[in-house]
């Protein structure tokens, strides 16, 4: 709680694998994505003015708002962090398993790694649910309003479009194939509650998901994914997003890739923070918009 949202924004990397991956995916999404890592630049953009006194006032108000416990801005960030940590842990484990799979003595390690499609689908659904919970934390709509979420998804601005594209491409198309969105509900239907509990992010998020018990949470996940898939499907077909195009877009910034789609997904999971990176930027923008209105 000690670091404010704008401080987090200023600590984001200017150039690393995460930024390159996002820049790559942003070539598929019209409406340019810029990697804003300066609080001042964001305030100037929202305010339409570079007055230093006004900038200072907005900054002070934004810091006050992000420190206020129930305002939800900081809470949204901790949700993103939880998902990000889990993604990295799972990704790292799978990288290890891929390497270990080639070594005779430790081959058995691969048996313990969650690599199957069902878990990948559960992971994606957790990300969508985290997105929804964070959305309600930041924008303050009541608990589980699926309709509002669907309507506002279409209103997401530049960062969030790239964010959604990254979610669709990196977490659905690459690991699950181009039919991922159609298969998602079926895959989620096969998730058992003990499998859900294997995901580190779920353990962190469980208290925040409406409903009591794993089964209730699972049905919440399926409902939120249902809402999201309808939108994501239109989004993907409108932009023509596929696994193949994702790889080509990434190759423009990261470099040539010779492995399979699945390996690329694991690699991205383990070594990039696209989800938390764009999350911080999106939350910071909403926060600055509010602070600018309240000074």
């Amino acid at each position: 709680m000690s670091t404010t949202v704008l401080e987090r924004l200023e600590r984001l990397p200017h150039r690393n694998l995460t930024v390159l991956a996002l820049r790559g995916i942003s070539t598929l999404v019209p409406g340019t994505w810029t990697n804003i890592t300066s609080a001042e630049a964001m305030i100037h953009e929202v305010l339409g003015s570079t007055d230093p006194e006004l900038t200072r006032q907005v900054r002070d108000r934004a810091d006050e708002l992000s420190r206020a416990r129930h305002e939800g801005y900081a809470r949204a960030l901790s949700l993103y962090d939880a998902v990000n940590r889990s993604q990295k842990a799972a990704g790292g484990l799978r990288v290890l398993a891929n390497v270990a799979g080639a070594l005779p003595l430790v081959k058995r390690l691969t048996l313990f790694t969650p690599a199957n499609e069902t878990l990948q689908a559960a992971d994606l659904s957790l990300k969508v649910a985290a997105e929804m919970l964070a959305f309600t934390q930041v924008n303050g709509l009541p608990g589980d309003s699926f309709g509002d979420f669907g309507a506002s998804l279409t209103e997401y601005t530049s960062e969030a479009r790239v964010r959604m594209a990254a979610l669709v491409c990196f977490d659905a198309f690459l690991p699950l194939g181009d039919q991922a969105l159609q298969r998602l509900d079926g895959l989620l239907g096969r998730v058992a509650s003990h499998e859900l509990r294997q995901l580190p992010a779920y353990v962190g998020m469980a208290p925040l998901i409406p409903g009591r018990g794993d089964q209730a949470h699972l049905s919440f996940l399926r409902r939120s994914v249902d809402q999201w898939v309808g939108w994501a499907d239109g989004f993907a077909s409108q932009l023509g997003l596929t696994g193949q195009r994702t790889v080509r877009a990434l190759e423009t910034t990261i470099g040539p890739w010779h492995g399979g789609f699945e390996q690329l997904a694991i690699f991205l999971d383990a070594f990039t923070d696209t989800y938390a990176h764009t999350g911080v930027q999106a939350v910071a923008r909403r926060l600055v918009e509010r602070a600018a209105a309240e000074i």
Binding site: V46, G48, H70, N139, E155, R286, E294
Partner: protein, 226 residues
């Protein structure tokens, strides 16, 4: 040491640790409730009450609500895909510092003090309580366009919004102002907003202003309204 005593001490230690963990560890930040400046919730108008006071979009424009919190509501005015302006209403109870800028305001709109902040933002303080603001986005808005948007808010209904705190004052004022007639504040929901359909008549407005003044005295000087 007797067996019972050692059990008692052990349980006491565990209870102490659990309680200590609850109060010392940062669980509290996750508990809901409260407002920014720790103003009690009931003194701040909920954003839901503010939503319907936003201007109706003109042809070709859409109004998309983006944030709604206690004492704050914000919407984007969009034309096609482009965001033209951020419109917002905030209750200045949670940000008292924002009220001071209106002290030196020379201009007014619909009778309320008006302030320009930078090149793209105009703010109006309604009823000494609600800040209505228009911030031009993208290509920007001219001064007149911003003022027109400010005027398009339902300012009369906004001025008549009463937080729960003012209700007591209102009932006190009611004793003094019999013109209020059968209007009973207790019988109404906690955040009575007067719908645009039934705009306050002159004498009711006067009573409301008296109530507001009483409420103001009560909160600012901490002396009960006579």
């Amino acid at each position: 040491m007797s067996r019972r005593l050692s059990w008692g001490l052990g349980l006491l230690l565990i209870a102490g640790l659990v309680l200590g963990a609850f109060f010392v560890l940062p669980f509290r930040s996750w508990l809901p409730g409260g407002t920014v400046a720790d103003v009690p919730n009931r003194l701040v108008v909920n954003g839901t009450a503010l939503n319907r006071l936003f201007p109706a979009p003109e042809a070709g424009e859409t109004l998309v609500f983006t944030q709604e919190k206690r004492g704050f509501s914000q919407a984007r005015l969009k034309q096609g895909d482009a965001v033209r302006a951020l419109l917002s209403i905030s209750d200045v109870t949670t940000s008292p510092a924002s009220r001071t800028k209106f002290g030196s305001s020379g201009s007014a709109l619909a009778g309320w003090p008006l302030v320009e902040q930078g090149d793209q933002s105009s703010a109006l303080l309604v009823a000494d309580r609600f800040q209505v603001k228009v911030i031009g986005q993208g290509a920007g808005l001219s001064l007149d366009e911003r003022h027109e948007l400010l005027g398009a808010f339902n300012l009369q209904a906004l001025a008549a919004l009463n937080p729960a705190s003012a209700q007591k004052a209102l009932s006190q004022a009611q004793v003094k102002a019999p013109s209020l007639g059968g209007q009973s504040p207790e019988a109404r929901p906690s955040l009575p907003a007067i719908s645009p359909a039934e705009q306050p008549s002159d004498n009711r407005l006067a009573a409301l202003q008296a109530a507001r003044a009483a409420a103001h005295r009560q909160t600012a000087v901490l002396t009960p309204a006579a």
